[in-house]
Symmetry: C3
């Protein structure tokens, strides 16, 4: 399991796709994005255009742990991205964030095949004035710490270039 | 002296506490937080719950240089965190930021025992619209640069994992 | 060609100037800043005060590719900084950002002498509420990725300390 962190437009998705594409296909792409406006639709299209077969796509705006658990055994899985999933769960008043997070961590720990998770590092700015943004930042940071503990490899991508935080440098 | 930088919820406090807790106690915890609202009270409690004896706590929302200077000789000292102290000083109209910063730097340079300083790296976002936030970001950045010059070790924590910026990697 | 990334007040300009100043002069400083308010005027003055002869300064708030292309052959060139240039181009309704970016990349790829480019890493915060800020963040991220591809060396500066992302560590 690899956790790929990076800022906005850091090239983290491209880097993560490269990790999976270096393995024999078919590959499973777990998409967490929900297109709730034009800007989002454009971003999704931009990412989708970069992927050709042998990618299969599963949409999992929520219930991400379940989506990972249901991946065919041994299939390389790319989840892009955790911050959108976290946004979806936090914006859904019926959702149970602690429960969903536990399910995600359990699925990651139990994954038999290669699993790459992409997420935005969002904690390096000024404290946001918006309370929801502050809570989001806290939840994202806690989630990253917990995932980093169980990950074999953690990478921070800056300007398309990987910095290895955990695991084999090569 | 070690400077531990990290984003929000990056695990920087936990990492810094681990550095001190690896040394023989008792340890001195210099807390800079002021509980001015419920959110802050909760954060303080969250951090405090993680520390057991042999931690002694000194509150230093301001006059941080003096608090460090008055630590018993040779006692390992953890300061958590510089950004809250900087906030307190900047929000206090009577405070003399340049003077307080000089006192802090002098105390750090003169510290006889192990000293670990925790601070938020806040400069990696979009330029804030709020003028005070911009000034805060500038002051924090300048302070980090000056402390990094005199520190033996500088560490950036991301997702609980340390990246060594200065000093021995091991 | 070296790309120097860093947060606000990270010491990236000082680090970049040190790279150029280690080479035989005269050196060319390509300034992209436009002083549209007092805060900006102060920042420009702060940077200018640090530079003595043998620095020559060329102002290039736009048309940055052209300014780099017109540098005397073999002259060490420092561009500080790309994010201000990007801001200027994005705020100018008549400007052609894709064209200007292509011209910049072409000039960088064709540069005969040492070239150091400074830019702000701005993608590590919460998604900005302002649409222009989001677009700026996206454009900056894309530009950094493209420049990093052609750069010999990419450095991230934190608290005045360089982390080598690409190129020889020493």
């Amino acid at each position: 399991m690899t956790l790929v962190l990076g800022g906005a437009r850091s090239g983290k998705s491209r880097y993560a796709e490269g990790l999976i594409a270096a393995l024999p296909g078919p590959w499973l792409y777990v998409a967490t994005a929900q297109a709730w406006d034009d800007e989002m639709r454009e971003r999704i299209a931009h990412h989708r255009d970069r992927r050709a077969a042998p990618w299969e796509t599963v949409e999992a705006p929520r219930a991400l742990g379940e989506a990972i658990r249901q991946a065919p055994a041994g299939r390389p899985v790319l989840v892009d991205c955790l911050t959108l999933w976290l946004t979806n769960v936090m914006l859904d008043e019926m959702a149970d964030l602690p429960g969903e997070a536990e399910a995600l961590l359990a699925s990651c720990a139990a994954a038999a095949g290669p699993l790459v998770l992409v997420s935005n590092e969002v904690g390096f700015g000024i404290v946001p004035e918006n309370a929801l943004a502050r809570r989001f930042r806290d939840e994202a940071g806690r989630l990253h710490q917990r995932l980093a503990t169980i990950a074999d490899r953690v990478v921070l991508v800056v300007a398309g270039l990987p910095m290895i935080l955990k695991g084999d440098p090569a």
